[in-house]
Every structure is written in structure tokens, then in C-alpha cells.
């Protein structure tokens, strides 16, 4: 279906494209269907998977809404995030993602060229993650009622039999591993937004993590994993400490950080532990399996820089504590509100 039956006749999206008439069909067929290539033209996807037939396999289902400003930024765009975010939500739960839905809310006046780029990057990300976008929806709203493009994706995946990832399985002694540098996405967005007039080349870390999770789960007993999205690594670790009812200790010197991200944080008085990521996770494995887990992670594209950052402890349950590079210790709490740039 590479040749669309219908073509878009305007350069910008207008309310007519959400009106249910010919213009809407033009938009759907030319911009979405020709790229996502669903199996049929029904309003539903009809799916079969051999993986589901395995006795003990579980269906995993998740949904997430995506808003980001600017819509395009170094290392990605809202489309790539919308695919990777949902893929990663499934992956860190141990599921192998299979199918996604994508619903678009588009502000009238959006460039069709921009929309095409976003859709193309969704297809690319879906191919990279080996998932298919099988169904979708479009709404167009008046100018001012949305910020360009909002995307909601839902994802379905299968958890293989006997795979059981859950934060409450984390035990004292387990080792915490991250797959790469922290805070790139948050810093990239801050810089790309331009409010602070900072000029820096930091690409977002936006990437699918399912291959990495699969390789690791096949090799070792991964107790639990979390993708460190909003609220950064600090929030992911706090969630796990809370659920597992154990403490977590991390080493400041072990945290992988890009020099430029450090720079942005120094200038704006931000803590990189709270910066958002879109392709970074933390997972916990038993200490004796840590080396094998590292090897498995490093064998995948998203895990080349995997590194141990800390461990679960019996001490200070539900608290995340960081041994500072200076030899002191401090509590790493959940973030209160949004992290704002500061001068003092």
C-alpha cells in the first residue's frame, strides 16, 4: 500500500481534516496509512501471535500520552518518543512489544511536512523496535487548543512464561545497573527550547529498549526494571525502594554523565538525577549475576555503556541515599514539582 489512494491537497492541517469528510480521508491515507501500512482498512486491528499461545504467557497492555515542546529536537521528535516510550513501558515490565496504536490530536495550522516527518520517524522507531503500528486515530482541534501535535500510543506485548519482573522482588544486595548516560533528553529539550539561550549539542537519548531488556532477561534473573523518564533516575529508584521496601544506595562517582549535561546542570542549578530520559533504564539483578547482566546489556545497541551505579540495601528502607563524590551521604528524594532553573 505504498501508493496512497488519496493525496493531501493542502500544506497545513485544517479543521476540515478532522471533519470526517474527503479531506480527512486524504490526510489519513496519504500521511498515516501509506507509512504505517496496517493490514486492513477496518477500524480495528485483528491480530494473531504465536507467542500468545505459549502456556503461561501473559498479555501486557499499556498506554501513554506524549507532549513535548519543541516537537523536533536533536536526537528525535515527538513521534519517536511516542513509539519508544510505549515500547519501553512494555519492555521494562518484561514484555516483548508487538503492536502499537497511535492517536493524534493535531492543532490546526500544523505543517503537513512536519506531520509527515513525525509519522516517518514513528515508522522508523517502530521498525527499530520490531513492533507494528496497527491502528490509529486523528482529531484536529482549533488553533490554541493544543500545542502542535499530541500523540497517545497504546501498546500490546507478550510476557514469556516464567518471566516475572516486579519491583517488590528487589532484595538487599541486588545490584542496580543503568544502560547509559543520564539526563541527555532533559538537557537536550532544555537547550532546544531556547528560553535559556544555551547553545549545546546534546542529542536526546530517545531509543527503544526492548532488545536490551530481552537480551538481559534471557541471560539473568532481572528482578525489576524501570525506565527513568520524567523525574529521572531519582524517581525511578524511589519507586523501586518504596515498592521493594528496601533501601537503595548509589555512588555519585559511578553515575554516567555527559560533560555537556553536567555543564547545563551547573549553569541552571539543576540536578541531573532528576532530568528526564527517554532511552535509559535502571534494572536490578542479583549480585552474583551482575557481570553477566552487564555483558548481555553491552551486547545490545542501547546498552553499550551499561554500568553498575549502586545496590539495594537492608538499611534505610524506602530511602534512596547517594554516597557523594566527596565522601558524604545525602538522601535522594522524589522530586517536588518540576525542577526549575535557579540562580541561587
Amino acid at each position: 500500500m505504498n501508493q496512497p489512494m488519496r493525496r493531501m491537497k493542502s500544506d497545513t492541517v485544517t479543521l476540515a481534516h478532522g471533519g470526517g469528510g474527503k479531506a480527512m480521508r486524504d490526510l489519513i491515507e496519504d500521511v498515516f496509512v501509506s507509512v504505517f501500512e496496517p493490514d486492513g482498512m477496518e477500524d480495528q486491528a485483528r491480530l494473531t501471535s504465536a507467542a500468545l499461545a505459549n502456556s503461561g504467557a501473559q498479555l501486557a497492555f499499556t498506554t501513554d500520552g506524549f507532549v513535548v515542546s519543541p516537537l523536533e529536537f536533536p536526537g528525535g521528535d515527538i513521534g519517536k518518543i511516542a513509539v519508544c516510550g510505549t515500547v519501553n513501558d512494555l519492555a521494562v515490565g518484561g514484555a516483548e512489544p508487538l503492536w502499537l496504536s497511535a492517536a493524534f490530536i493535531i492543532e490546526e495550522g500544523v505543517d503537513v511536512a512536519l506531520l509527515r516527518r513525525v509519522v516517518a520517524s514513528m515508522r522508523e522507531a517502530a521498525d527499530e523496535a520490531n513492533v507494528r503500528i496497527v491502528t490509529g486515530d486523528t482529531k484536529v482541534v482549533e488553533r490554541g487548543s493544543a500545542d502542535g501535535i499530541f500523540i497517545t500510543t497504546s501498546g500490546v506485548g507478550v510476557i514469556p512464561p516464567e518471566r516475572n519482573l516486579s519491583a517488590d522482588r528487589v532484595q538487599p544486595g541486588d545490584v542496580a545497573i543503568v544502560n547509559g548516560v543520564l539526563g541527555d533528553h532533559g538537557a537536550a529539550i532544555l537547550a532546544a527550547r531556547g528560553d535559556m539561550a544555551l547553545s549545546v549539542e546534546i542529542p536526546s537519548d530517545c531509543q527503544p529498549l526492548n532488545a536490551l531488556m530481552n537480551a538481559t532477561c534471557e541471560t539473568v534473573d532481572v528482578r525489576a526494571a524501570r525506565d527513568a523518564t520524567r523525574g529521572g533516575l531519582a524517581s525511578a529508584l524511589n519507586e523501586i525502594a518504596e515498592a521493594a521496601d528496601c533501601g537503595i544506595e548509589i555512588e555519585e562517582t559511578a553515575l554516567p554523565l555527559r560533560t555537556e549535561v553536567k555543564g547545563v546542570c551547573e549553569i541552571l542549578g539543576l540536578d541531573p538525577l532528576y532530568l528526564a530520559n527517554e532511552g535509559t533504564l535502571v534494572l536490578f539483578v542479583p549480585e552474583e549475576e551482575a557481570e553477566r547482566a552487564l555483558d548481555a546489556m553491552r551486547s545490545t545497541a542501547a546498552g553499550k555503556e551499561a554500568v553498575i551505579v549502586g545496590r539495594a540495601t537492608a538499611a534505610h528502607p524506602k530511602r534512596v541515599v547517594m554516597q557523594t563524590s566527596f565522601g558524604g551521604a545525602r538522601i535522594v528524594d522524589m522530586l517536588v514539582g518540576e525542577q526549575l532553573p535557579r540562580i541561587c
Binding site: D195, M196, A197, L198, E249, K262, G263, E266, I267, L268, G269, A315, H316, R319, V321, Q323, T324, S325, F326, G327, G328, A329, R330, I331, D333, V336, G337, L340, P341, R342, I343, C344
Partner: protein
């Protein structure tokens, strides 16, 4: 990062910590009868907690967290006035991110923004100037907030606006100065302080001379300090050594940045643009003589107080009492530790701050809450 990371070297700290412990012993200070050193600057408070210095130093040393956080000493009435300005339809209100969450009597700037006020966070007053250039049909008001470190940047921006004859840029000037509140603290009959760690970045502007009265008139040591953990520890040691040797002097640990006579360009710009106010209200400390700056008559076109008839520009300041039960004043003067405030962690948390010290990450209470909430077991 050059000039920063080398001053975070834990090896260098070892020697300093051993020396500090030794001098504390020589002074006979104990947990029950500690030496009280005030770090004036909120940046130092932040560093103490961020690097866990309070847990590394001996029990006989107690840090008292001073009033040097401009957000923490901002009276609620000032926040109300910011909101009032920001809610004017013609105004783009520009501010550093720090001020966004400070509660006013009704709402914070963050809430006002959510309700539709055009409030923009900026990194620099230069960015506010640029916004004014790009929005000639809007009034851009910059919230001038901060101590002597920040006053020159606002002054230079006002001079720049004057040279460009900008008609739509003004400053809501709430700049304040460090020495007057220190004097007020020292005059407090309940004062328990033995010495001071002085604010390094304020001093790079004003030099070290303005602190002379602390040593000369009150016999207390003060050491101007940098902001890296090593800087702080070295400065603490220098204060303790002065105490041990019976000296009271103004010393400068941060000599790589601070010159004794400060920065002449900054001082000249400030003299040109500002004059002292007879008095200025500090949250938790009340009115302090000559502790605030206002914009001189020659730059009145850039003074939001006059332009919008607000704040001190409206006549007598409207005093707004602190919220019921808020003990920020006592904490700031060292009479209470944050955790001794009856509201700490109960009626006052970072999510729902009652007092200003819980708002800013430099505020002593927020720092206690975030970093020191429980006693940590020692690392293995």
C-alpha cells in the same frame, strides 16, 4: 570543570577535616557545647547539604544557616505585588526560576502562570531585555531579586535599556544587601554565633572591606569562602583557627575569584543606578534599615514601582504577617533548628510550604527536609 572539580577532591578534604577536628578539640567544643558558625549564604547551605559536610565535620561544630537566600527572605507582600504585576494584561513578567514557587498570601507566581498570567522564566536579565526588544507592544517587567552578586547585572541591564531608549522595559527592584542583616543578627541579644563564613560571590562584587565591622566592632571572625566543598571546609578551618588564636579578622579564602576591593565596574554601575532605601522588609527578620536598594530618579523610566505604582512606589509598605505557626524568623536567626519548628514536615513541607525556608533549595528547612530527614547509617 576547571576551577571547580579540583576543589571537590575528597583526598584534599581529609587533611582539612583532621585539622578541623583538632582545632575543635583545642577549643574544647563538644556536641553539648558546640562552636556555632553561620554560613551567611544560601549557596553555602546548599553545598553543605549536597556534599554532606555537616555529617563529615565533628559534632562540636554546628552550622547555623544564615539569611543569605534572597528567595527565603522575600516577604509575602512582595510576592503578591509580583503576582499583581504579572496579571496585568500588557505585562510580560520575567523572573529567575527561584521565585516561581514562593507562596504569596493568595498564590505563587507558578499558580498565577497557570491561571493565565504571562510569566517567563529567564536565566539572565539580558534575556528579559531581548524579550522587550521582540515585543515592543508589551511591557516587559524584570523581577530584580538577589544580593550584591546579582545587583550589577540588573544595573548594567538598566543602563543598556537606557542607552537603547527602550520604553517597554522596567525592573521591579527588590535587590537587597548583605551587611545590614548581619549587623541586625549581631545586635540580637540572643545571638549565639562565634564566627562567619562569608558569601564569596557577593564579595567578588563588593570586596571584603564591608565586613570589617564584624571583626572590629563585634570581635567575630569572618572568612570569605568559595562554593566548592573544599573551599567551605578550608574557610571553616580558618574561622576556627582565628578563634583558637584569639583573633577576629576578615580573611579571604576565595582569592581566586574575590579581590579585596571587589569589582570596580560593578560597584560603579550599582552606584549609578541604585540608592539605598531608608528601610526594607525581610521575611522573618522584619524591617532592616538601609538593607534594600531602589532605582535612582535618573532611571525612573525603568522603575516598575513608579511605572505601575506598586510596592514601595505606592507609599508605605503593606506589612503582611507571617502565616500562623511559621517560625522561619527564629530558624533564620539560629534560635531554632529547622526540625525544632513545630510545623516542620507537618504543616510545612516542600510540596505545601508554609514558610519561605521550605521553598528554595537553598532554604535551610528544605535542605533539612530533602537531605537530612533521617540520620544515615555510616557507609560501609
Amino acid at each position: 570543570m576547571k576551577y571547580a572539580e579540583e576543589f571537590r577532591d575528597p583526598k584534599a578534604a581529609k587533611g582539612l577535616l583532621a585539622q578541623i577536628a583538632q582545632v575543635i578539640d583545642e577549643l574544647g567544643a563538644t556536641k553539648e557545647k558546640p562552636v556555632h558558625i553561620m554560613e551567611i549564604c544560601g549557596g553555602h547551605t546548599h553545598a553543605i547539604f549536597r556534599y554532606g559536610l555537616d555529617k563529615l565535620t565533628p559534632e562540636g561544630l554546628e552550622f547555623i544557616h544564615g539569611p543569605g537566600c534572597p528567595v527565603c527572605v522575600l516577604p509575602m507582600s512582595r510576592v503578591d505585588e509580583c503576582v499583581e504585576l504579572a496579571e496585568r494584561p500588557e505585562v510580560i513578567f520575567t523572573t529567575f526560576g527561584d521565585a516561581m514557587r514562593v507562596p504569596g498570601t493568595k498564590k505563587s507566581l507558578l499558580q498565577a502562570k497557570a491561571e493565565g498570567a504571562d510569566i517567563r522564566m529567564v536565566y539572565s536579565p539580558l534575556d528579559a531585555l531581548e524579550l522587550a526588544r521582540r515585543n515592543p507592544d508589551r511591557e516587559v517587567v524584570f523581577f530584580g531579586l538577589g544580593f550584591e552578586t546579582t545587583t550589577p547585572s540588573t544595573a548594567l541591564s538598566i543602563q543598556q535599556a537606557a542607552s537603547e531608549e527602550m520604553a517597554n522595559f522596567s525592573v521591579f527592584c527588590n535587590h537587597i544587601t548583605v551587611p545590614p542583616p548581619i549587623k541586625a543578627l549581631l545586635d540580637d541579644p540572643h545571638m549565639i554565633l562565634d564566627g562567619f563564613v562569608g558569601p564569596g560571590h557577593v564579595s567578588m562584587v563588593i570586596g571584603v572591606e564591608p565586613y570589617r565591622f564584624i571583626a572590629r566592632d563585634y570581635g567575630k571572625p569572618i572568612v570569605v569562602a568559595g562554593f566548592e566543598p573544599i573551599d567551605l571546609l578550608q574557610s571553616v578551618l580558618m574561622v576556627l583557627e582565628q578563634m583558637r588564636d584569639g583573633r577576629a579578622e576578615v580573611e579571604n579564602q576565595y582569592s581566586r575569584v574575590v579581590q579585596d576591593d571587589g569589582n570596580p565596574v560593578s560597584i560603579a554601575a550599582c552606584d549609578d543606578v541604585y540608592e539605598p532605601r531608608p528601610t526594607f522588609e525581610w521575611r522573618g527578620l522584619g524591617e532592616i534599615d538601609s538593607s534594600g536598594l531602589r532605582i535612582r530618579e535618573k532611571y525612573v523610566a525603568f522603575d516598575a514601582e513608579t511605572k505601575f505604582s506598586i510596592g514601595y512606589g505606592k507609599g508605605a509598605p503593606r506589612f503582611v504577617p507571617e502565616p500562623e505557626g511559621c517560625a522561619c524568623g527564629d530558624v533564620m536567626t539560629g534560635r531554632l533548628k529547622p526540625i525544632q519548628c513545630p510545623q516542620f514536615g507537618k504543616g510545612c513541607t516542600p510540596e505545601m510550604p508554609l514558610g519561605a525556608l521550605m521553598v528554595s533549595s537553598e532554604g535551610a528547612c528544605a535542605a533539612y527536609y530533602q537531605y537530612g530527614g533521617v540520620d544515615l547509617e555510616p557507609a560501609e
